[in-house]
């Protein structure tokens, strides 16, 4: 024989302020927990979407990032002549030799300088990244001092909007278009003509090369061919892998920070639930005695109080998750420790995160409610009734 659920719900409703405060504390913990998970998921989504599984990035061996890398013109020629490079619809080979540099530009809001990635691309380079679409204005014309900015870069940095000019490498560059790169790392970059960039920055070497594989299954063979060639001091990585590697430190930092903060906070919330549930048991001693006298077994009492604690947790979890879901409207832009370049990413709520947050809330409710429920179940009928 179980105690009706309505009894449990009415108990929570009867002590509205206490219920609200306890659930509010848990809601804040769930909010922090969910927000951090969403941030990590957003970062991952951004960097996974940045790479194309059939694309290969070639950088100088052990240079880790494109900015630190250098690919001499002679080496670039060797890579360019690989047999496994795919051919585009117009018959040209899908390979792009790109200079990538970091420059300091003031941010729009604060005027504080931050690093933005400038990438020189070729027509093939644009074709290699189908996720990058023109959103406003037009593409830059090859051979001119025109650039296009990613949406996040255009919104984040002064002078990067359409029609504005940027000054770097002792030249003025006109922004002629905004590209929407979806939620990818390219959204935080500024693109111009590769040869123009090489001249302006007085560079003799490219930073990286990117090409599409004609047969994706041949990646390992191509990688071996590049890395075994004595003329080349380069390494090849799948583009997806390359971008995932770049965010490893930042993702790990967010993960460690988030889990340790959630763990500490949950202790506070569990204590709050425990206080509430102990008080709930104490103030209802006579009721518990009556229920037992009516014939409800100890197990029913235990379950009733556990359900009450779980309901408290669920209410807090739902409240916290609802608040966290509003965070999806925000985009966070920070410097990636590994590339030293600004990267914009947003909070992404996935079904797994929602489930994990609610499970976490229920776990907090259970942890807080278990001991008080045991106390309630162990009360003896006579003592409990006498308390009234």
């Amino acid at each position: 024989m179980a105690i009706p659920l309505s009894y449990v719900v009415r108990n929570l409703a009867a002590r509205r302020v206490t219920t609200l405060l306890t659930a509010g504390g848990m809601a804040l913990v769930v909010y922090v927990f969910a927000t951090v998970l969403m941030l990590a998921a957003g970062l991952e989504a951004t960097l996974v979407a940045t790479g194309h599984p059939d694309n290969v990035v070639v950088i100088r061996r052990s240079s880790q990032t494109e900015v630190q890398s250098g690919v001499e013109r002679g080496q670039a020629g060797v890579v360019e002549s690989l047999r496994d490079i795919a051919v585009g619809p117009d018959g040209s080979r899908l390979v792009s030799k790109e200079p990538v540099v970091l420059i300091n530009l003031p941010k729009r809001g604060t005027g504080k300088p931050s690093n933005v990635t400038i990438r020189g691309v070729t027509p093939a380079g644009i074709e290699l990244r189908p996720q990058v679409r023109l959103a406003e204005g037009r593409m830059f014309r090859p051979g001119t001092a025109e650039v296009v900015a990613g949406r996040a870069a255009a919104e984040g940095f002064r002078g990067a909007g359409v029609g504005e000019t940027l000054r770097f490498a002792s030249r003025d560059w006109t922004v002629v278009g905004i590209v929407d790169a979806g939620r990818t790392g390219f959204d935080s970059e500024i693109w111009g003509d590769a040869e123009q960039m090489l001249q302006a920055f007085r560079r003799g070497a490219y930073s990286s090369m990117i090409f599409r594989l004609a047969d994706p299954a041949r990646f390992e063979a191509v990688k071996r061919e590049i890395e075994a060639d004595p003329r080349l001091t380069l390494e090849a990585k799948r583009e997806t892998r390359f971008y995932a590697d770049q965010s490893e430190t930042l993702a790990r930092f967010i993960g460690i920070l988030g889990t340790s903060i959630s763990a500490i906070f949950s202790i506070g919330a569990i204590i709050g639930a425990m206080i509430t549930m102990y008080a709930s048991v104490a103030s209802r001693t006579a009721e518990i005695g009556t229920l037992r006298a009516l014939g409800f077994p100890r197990r029913a009492i235990l379950v009733a109080f556990l359900i009450e604690a779980l309901a408290l947790g669920l209410a807090g979890g739902a409240l916290g998750l609802a608040a966290a879901s509003f965070m999806q409207a925000f985009t966070i832009s920070t410097t990636n420790f590994q590339t030293f370049a600004e990267l914009a990413f947003s909070f992404t709520l996935t079904p797994q995160i929602a489930a994990a947050s609610l499970a976490f809330a229920l776990a907090m409710g259970f942890a807080g409610g278990f001991l008080p429920a045991v106390r309630a179940a162990r009360l003896s009928i006579v003592d409990a009734l006498r308390a009234a």
Binding site: V17, T18, L28, R60, I261, G272, A279
Partner: protein
């Protein structure tokens, strides 16, 4: 003596509840203190910087170098006492996870400019004499178990190849805020090797450091240095060391803001828990408060009882929390290693913790105290029946 005694008795009436509340406050205060210390550690580099040092870098960004000839020209600028330079090396020790800062410096001019790095005289001489020598901070040496005479291999990410250095000295920081997790070696060693392997990249400098006589002229001298190189191929940007460090911090500002926000969220959470405790406590004692009033005690006395009890519990938890923050910070610093070169709980943090604990106690008491002071004797006494 009547009032404090009554408060103490009340506070310990429900031992378990008081204990749980105190435990909650301790956890929150420790978490708050640790998060504030993380933020402090972020700013440690900027706070440790000297006001008599200016940093000159390429105006485009740090990635772009400047020619070595700039050293002479900077030295000629009025007000500059001495010039030195450094290159960020960006090497990897064994695996990518072992991150620490490595700089190629000109020791003869660089070390005198940074008196906060304390190096024994014989170790200093050994370092100056060995072109492939290096010095590291005490914290870094402890982390990897390096001893003087050890060989440290680094895999270059910016300068390709494997580089070997012989450890010639371990320096200590003059102050708690000095970075003891950096490695320094000879710029000339780097440059000569680079000249052989990649001639185009030789004779280039990442940043120049200029020491000035008078800190109050920093802005003027910075402008004079930048004017020297205006319209050249490598225009420069000169700022004080502090501004230079703050520039780095500003790049990760979003994360710092989150940490700061979170440190206040934990206080709000514990406020909710504590407010709940006090609300329950006061509700249970409604009849007692009515009795006190019936005996002639004014409403303010009853309210004072609740406020004093709440403050006492919060203060107890707060003080215990502050005491526990110091070992917790030491354990945290040990766990993260050289990620934060400096990790010390500051006096300001402790004051903030104390303030936060008192605020929690005060806020938690407001509603119950107000209600108890307003309770009508008849209603309160009726609740007994």
């Amino acid at each position: 003596m009547f009032f404090p005694q009554l408060v103490a008795r009340n506070a310990f009436r429900h031992k378990l509840r008081t204990l749980l509340t105190v435990a909650g406050i301790v956890v929150a205060i420790v978490a708050f203190g640790l998060l504030r210390t993380v933020v402090d550690a972020w700013y440690a580099g900027a706070n440790a910087s000297s006001s008599t040092r200016l940093v000159t870098r390429n105006a485009v960004s740090l990635v772009f170098p400047m020619p070595t000839t700039y050293a002479q020209k900077i030295r000629q600028v009025d007000g500059v006492k001495g010039v030195s330079w450094a290159n960020w090396f960006g090497g990897v020790y064994v695996t990518e996870r072992n991150f620490f800062a490595q700089f190629a410096i000109d020791p003869a001019t660089y070390l005198p400019m940074y008196p906060e790095f304390l190096l024994a005289d014989d170790e200093r001489r050994a370092f100056l004499a060995d072109r492939a020598g290096a010095i590291v901070g005490r914290k870094l040496a402890d982390e990897y178990g390096w001893k003087v005479g050890d060989t440290i291999p680094l895999r270059g990410t910016i300068f390709p190849g494997t580089w070997s250095f012989t450890l010639r000295g371990i320096f200590d920081g003059a102050e708690a805020s000095t970075d003891e997790s950096a490695m320094f070696f000879h710029w000339s060693y780097l440059n000569e090797t680079v000249r052989q392997r990649f001639p185009r990249r030789a004779d280039q400098i990442g940043v120049f450091v200029a020491e000035i006589h008078d800190p109050s002229r920093a802005a003027e001298i910075s402008a004079a240095i930048d004017a020297t190189f205006a319209n050249s191929l490598a225009e420069t940007l000169t700022e004080t060391e502090k501004a230079f460090q703050l520039g780095f911090i500003a790049m990760t500002e979003a994360i710092l803001l989150v940490i700061q926000a979170v440190s206040f969220v934990v206080i709000v959470i514990i406020m909710a828990v504590m407010a709940n405790t006090m609300a329950m406590t006061a509700r249970e004692r409604n009849a007692e408060y009515a009795t006190l009033k019936a005996l002639g005690f004014p409403g303010a006395f009853v309210a004072g009882l609740i406020v004093a009890e709440s403050l006492a519990i919060a203060l107890g938890g707060g003080l215990l929390g502050i005491a526990l923050t110091i070992p917790a910070a030491a354990a945290f610093a040990g766990a993260v290693g050289t990620l934060f070169p400096v990790f010390v709980v500051s006096g300001a943090t402790m004051l903030l913790q104390l303030g936060a604990a008192l605020a929690v106690g005060a806020v938690a008491a407001v509603a119950p105290a107000w209600r108890a002071s307003r309770v009508r004797i008849v209603d309160g006494l009726r609740a007994v029946a």
